[in-house]
């Protein structure tokens, strides 16, 4: 049964709520209402035009209840990490109203004594999306699946790797192909309803967790598997997760997602890499385990006007000789059509 979400996104719904926006734009579950005192009285589309959702925005859980949600989704991360007292009260109100609680926070709400007891009493489930299951060590079984696998990589976090993955799946469906999206992070999991937050897996088991996701996706024998990417290969903190996805998913092709205006890795002094450097580094690493090529670039030009966006797309094409586009601005069909012929099964290296 589909959920009807009340999305808790106080304070930063309009500009800093990646999870909320992703679920509203792409979720298989429905968004009934958003809770954000700052924007109360508006519709979602008024606060965030590109989401094109008419869902109402209200100030509190108690007001949200008249839209008959079945679950409360924590749609933003609290500034500083710790849960503010006002959020705590709202979550407890949702539990008391028998809403399922769905959270992608690093802190596990199900381990919070107050929430746990309240949920037990109300007979309500707390789904901590980031809590990974036990996963096996990487086995190499993924090398044997017959389905071509595409992995998204990028020049930083939060450049749109998940969005591009979802848009390319949509384009594949329109082209008559059955494409399965493989979620590897909390928002992707909330959108698809399954997956593993690979960044929360014990490092030794991160490639194995990724492999298990791809094996699961392959069970329904789709025409294409599209694996959500994470981090960046030169991200000082998150690159190990990027590499875990590369070796664990054993992709047959990569699409490189870049924000061309991003000059440094978010939160660090580390410079982002140019297209050719990124392509070279990813391909050199994969060449040692299971070779795969970057087959196209997806640019995130949301902060540029039309002319500047066109110029960036043209620059990406001429620098790399590869298809390049912004799949949000221009739709994903052209990029999908350009890269589809390059999605052929590859073989791992063997000694």
């Amino acid at each position: 049964m589909k959920r009807r979400y009340a999305i808790l996104a106080p304070d930063h719904f309009a500009n800093d709520a990646k999870t909320a926006h992703g679920v509203i734009a792409y979720g298989t579950d429905e968004t009934a209402v958003v809770i954000d005192p700052e924007n109360a009285g508006k519709r979602v589309t008024d606060a965030v035009p590109y989401l094109r959702s008419e869902a109402p925005i209200v100030a509190s859980v108690s007001e949200a209840l008249r839209y008959e949600p079945t679950a409360l989704l924590i749609g933003t991360a609290p500034r500083g990490g710790a849960l503010p007292p006002a959020w705590r009260a709202e979550i407890l109100a949702a539990i008391a109203a028998k809403l399922e609680i769905v959270s992608g926070l690093h802190d596990m709400l199900g381990e919070d004594q107050e929430f746990r007891l309240a949920a037990q009493r109300a007979g309500v489930r707390i789904w901590d999306v980031r809590e990974p299951p036990e996963t096996p060590l990487f086995s190499g079984a993924v090398y044997k699946i017959p389905v071509p696998t595409l992995l998204l990589v990028g020049n930083d976090c939060s450049v749109g790797k998940m969005t591009v993955a979802l848009e390319l799946c949509n384009a594949a469906q329109r082209a008559g192909k059955r494409a399965t999206f493989v979620p590897t992070g909390q928002t992707g999991i909330m959108i698809a309803g399954w997956g593993i937050s690979v960044d929360r897996v014990i490092a030794d088991f991160a490639p194995g967790a990724t492999e298990s996701l791809v094996l699961y996706a392959a069970q329904s024998n789709p025409d294409l598997i599209v694996v959500e990417g994470q981090g960046a290969i030169n991200h000082p903190a998150y690159a190990p997760v990027t590499l875990a996805l590369m070796y664990g998913a054993a992709p047959d092709a990569l699409v490189l997602v870049c924000d061309p205006t991003r000059e440094r890795i978010g939160g660090y002094e580390t410079p982002t890499l140019g297209y050719r450097e990124l392509i070279g580094l990813h391909e050199a690493l994969l060449a040692t385990v299971k070779p795969a090529r970057v087959v196209g670039l997806a640019l995130n030009t949301r902060y540029l006007d039309d002319a500047a966006a066109r110029a960036q797309i043209e620059r990406a094409r001429s620098e790399t000789g590869l298809p390049a586009d912004d799949v949000v601005r221009n739709g994903p069909d052209a990029l999908y059509a350009a890269i589809a012929p390059d999605m052929r099964k590859g073989q791992p290296c063997v000694a």
Copy 2:
């Protein structure tokens, strides 16, 4: 106070007990006795000549007690992973005799109900060496420490990265330099008495865990920090840990440790890489975050005769143009002297 270890290593002490051998050869704690029914009655040096230890080998914990150990160290991993009933009885006997229990197994003995209750009752500590503490996200603070940092990397697991790190520390001490060994895995931790098993850290935090180890080592202001390596950059399962150490330790120089006879990554079909490929890949990755060069090669020639070992060392030198040696066969002083001038502080990339 130093421990006196009884090392539990049934069945494979002579040939498959990396942890036991490491602690006997390099541990700051003393090995009083080894427990291995197969080799009972011998001395350690009879079963494993290169260890040069006169410690007795006995058949059981109860026999070991007369050598007055203060701790039981689990020195091998049980075949198949699960704890055999015979081992369980020995561990319980050690707890009853008030020995501290030191374990590097993936399964946490302290979470085993029977061991936990027995230990509580006996007032004995169970130290699960692999259990990581909570660690912060990578911050970049490591870029500011003034101490040159050397990281060991290699062509596979179990090629001797820890041994080379310890031998180079010894050589540095003999050359009048204060060198601090930074343990990143269970055996290193047992040897040094501190550290974090980085492979057990949640993937997102693995570089931060590594950084915290280097920052801790820098507090005593040594002349050189030597970080134990893990895995290999093209290891299908463990490469993310390798990369976490590279970005998290932010080394100023690398030493590449290779078994030249290893043709494939242990347990996988993946071919090991050649020296120049390995150097190129490590340096290309580090060049994007904080550049560092491979300054020397340490070969593990234990399975070769003298002539073959000399030939391999010569080949490594001529292929790479770098100092190369086997620091166990020939001692570490020559390699240390050759690379010492290359250990200068480097700067991170900034945008």
